[in-house]
């Protein structure tokens, strides 16, 4: 859009950068359009596939994107756009009302079907995934009438879906969409998060340089890549990321 006159909000950039346009220590994405898809792909590379014997699709948490981009509202909008374009799936992970997991739909489909090889429930699961792709990629949960009427599943088929792990019970008559065998992921994730937060908290003044934290020997509890956890705790506002001359500093946030 070609504007003849500048917007008032553009003249006064919302963040006053007193030290010039380069922010030392922090890798920022500048003022270009927010490219959420490439950040998602970068975060997906940090996910450890081998740990789960390749049975799980790569899961990224939505708040990890907040640590890479400044504008949370724009990130949310882009994620919703990708979900509507049937490229991304969002899940309620269960341990926190605000923690949403994201996977690429092609990846999810491939892994789920691979896991269903040779099982009785395979046909039902395939049908469910087809329905998911076509109609409601944006739903996090399904209620009973929806399953019966729109998707034309019978009660026994719903039980099969729950058994296969694609649906988990939410309350009587409704189910969350879920990833089969993701229990291990949640367990390791929470353990790792607690351990990394403990490392930051125990440091002198409860703060650690990000580069130093990445260098540290990962203790047995932390099974994921350290960077994956760092993006998680920064994005969830559990630590504050402060730019310094020696790089980003992570300071524990008391709550």
């Amino acid at each position: 859009m070609n504007r003849k006159r500048a917007l008032i909000s553009d003249t006064f950039k919302v963040k006053k950068s007193r030290n010039g346009p380069e922010k030392f220590g922090v890798v920022c994405n500048g003022n270009g359009p927010v490219d959420v898809k490439s950040s998602l792909e970068y975060l997906m590379t940090l996910f450890p596939r081998k740990l789960f014997n390749d049975a799980l699709p790569t899961i990224v948490l939505k708040h990890q994107l907040y640590s890479l981009h400044n504008d949370k509202t724009l990130v949310d909008k882009e994620v919703n756009k990708l979900r509507e374009q049937a490229e991304l799936l969002m899940f309620q992970l269960g341990f926190d009302t605000e923690a949403f997991g994201l996977t690429f739909i092609s990846d999810y489909k491939a892994k789920v079907l691979a896991g269903q090889e040779g099982k009785v429930t395979r046909a039902t699961v395939e049908r469910f995934l087809e329905k998911l792709l076509t109609s409601s990629c944006t739903d996090l949960s399904f209620s009973k009438e929806k399953m019966l009427r729109e998707f034309l599943f019978t009660d026994s088929e719903i039980t099969q879906l729950v058994k296969s792990g694609v649906l988990t019970v939410r309350d009587a008559g409704s189910w969350w969409l879920s990833i089969p065998n993701s229990g291990k992921f949640t367990k390791y994730f929470i353990q790792g998060r607690k351990a990394v937060l403990g490392m930051v908290k125990k440091s002198k003044y409860s703060e650690v340089l990000q580069a130093e934290l990445e260098e540290r020997r990962t203790i047995a509890q932390v099974k994921f890549n350290m960077k994956y956890h760092i993006h998680d705790i920064v994005g969830a506002d559990l630590v504050e990321s402060i730019p310094t001359t020696s790089g980003a500093l992570l300071r524990f946030v008391e709550s």
Partner: protein
């Protein structure tokens, strides 16, 4: 800035644009100023402040000790160094003072002859400012958390009162009696606000996580419940109920034009809603720390572009851009929790009060020239006058006459 001035001069731009640009620039420069001070009268924390709407000259504050103080904000001394003096107080020696902490004070919207205060001693008093005696006392069954008079009402003079009981009481100022009750909440009502756009629309926030919007003329119940998941039932943890937050909703504010509602809750989130449809605009402000068990008073700027929200966050005040959700800055200066803040739209100043018994004035600081002027003038006259703003200096009269 020069671009705006030239455009205004040439008539290319509307006069309003220059005014908004300057207001926005001043809000960016908000800082604690050693020159501006507010008299310290309260012995205990300050719960609420209100600046009158007519002239913006007088400010009311209510404290945890039950004391109410009126301050004069105007600076007529000509010097930049100024302390806002207390004009009068309803102190502990007064016969009519509130017994327990004053939770909300508000000036009568049309003149400063009257103000209303409500407190944890279960009463709401309407005071005459001249004599400092209550003209009317309304009694309630539970602690009064919040009350509000509509700033634009012409056809009614109702005060909406939120108390510990879930029913929202409406009291009539003209007749001195209760008018009616709005039923619908299930827990204590922490905050009530009238819309600045329509005189019959009221929004109430409650500890049961719901925010309801009412039309007071309608007998049957609330118009809308604000729903944080925007109707997307799949995100809520239970299907049944529309909640605005995942915890108690303790702050409620309309924007200046009445088109949006802002709410804060103890789930550490702040949400922006479209006031006409009740839709969540899904602006993500991040984590807005909120531990208050009572109501939180926060303010939205008026006359700037983009608009800013000033919200107390622990012991500092966080400034967010309203529609993008970006954190502009944190104003640090209080020694303890900040409970309330109020924006002065004419001078773009922010006043905030907290548990450390101080009211701090955040004033836009734009001229860095004060330091150079002082060193020059101290050479000329022996510091007889502190440095005056060059725009106010006398450039007319001649020394000869």
């Amino acid at each position: 800035m020069l671009g705006f001035l030239t455009a205004r001069q040439a008539g290319l731009d509307d006069p309003l644009r220059l005014r908004r640009a300057e207001s926005t620039r001043r809000v960016f420069g908000l800082e604690l100023n050693p020159d501006r001070d507010v008299d310290r009268i309260h012995g205990n924390g300050i719960n609420t402040i209100d600046i009158e709407a007519v002239e913006g000259r007088y400010m009311l504050s209510g404290g945890s000790d039950g004391i109410i103080v009126v301050y004069d904000l105007e600076n007529y001394s000509g010097k930049p160094q100024y302390t806002c003096k207390a004009v009068c107080t309803v102190g502990r020696s007064s016969r009519y003072v509130h017994k327990f902490s004053v939770e909300t004070v508000q000036w009568y919207p049309y003149d400063t002859g009257m103000f209303v205060s409500s407190s944890f001693d279960k009463t709401m008093k309407v005071w005459d400012t001249e004599t400092l005696k209550p003209a009317e006392v309304f009694e309630f069954e539970g602690n009064v958390y919040s009350h509000h008079l509509s700033p634009i009402a012409r056809k009614h003079s109702l005060i909406a009162v939120g108390t510990k009981y879930p029913k929202v009481q409406l009291c009539d100022l003209k007749s001195g009696s209760r008018s009616h009750v709005l039923q619908g909440h299930r827990a204590e009502v922490l905050s009530v606000r009238w819309s600045p756009r329509y005189e019959h629309i009221l929004a109430t926030a409650s500890a049961d996580s719901k925010v309801k919007v009412w039309d007071v003329r309608r007998a049957s119940g609330s118009l809308l419940d604000l729903d944080q998941h925007k109707g997307d039932k799949s995100k809520a943890s239970t299907e049944a109920v529309n909640t605005a937050h995942n915890g108690r909703v303790n702050g409620l504010c309309f924007t200046g034009d009445g088109l949006y509602i802002l709410t804060t809750g103890t789930d550490d989130r702040m949400r922006l809603w479209n006031s006409a449809t009740g839709e969540n605009t899904l602006v993500n402000y991040g984590k807005v720390c909120n531990e208050s068990r009572k109501k939180l008073q926060f303010a939205v700027s008026r006359g700037c572009s983009p608009e800013f929200v000033f919200v107390p966050c622990g012991s500092s005040v966080a400034v967010y851009a309203l529609h993008t959700g970006e954190l502009v800055t944190m104003l640090r200066g209080h020694y303890n929790n900040v409970d309330c803040c109020e924006f002065h739209p004419d001078y773009q100043e922010l006043y905030s009060g907290g548990k450390d018994c101080n009211i701090l004035a955040w004033v836009p600081v734009l001229h860095a020239s004060a330091v150079e002027d002082e060193s020059n003038s101290s050479n000329k006259d022996a510091a007889s006058q502190p440095s005056v703003n060059p725009a106010l200096q006398d450039a007319w009269s001649s020394d000869e006459d």
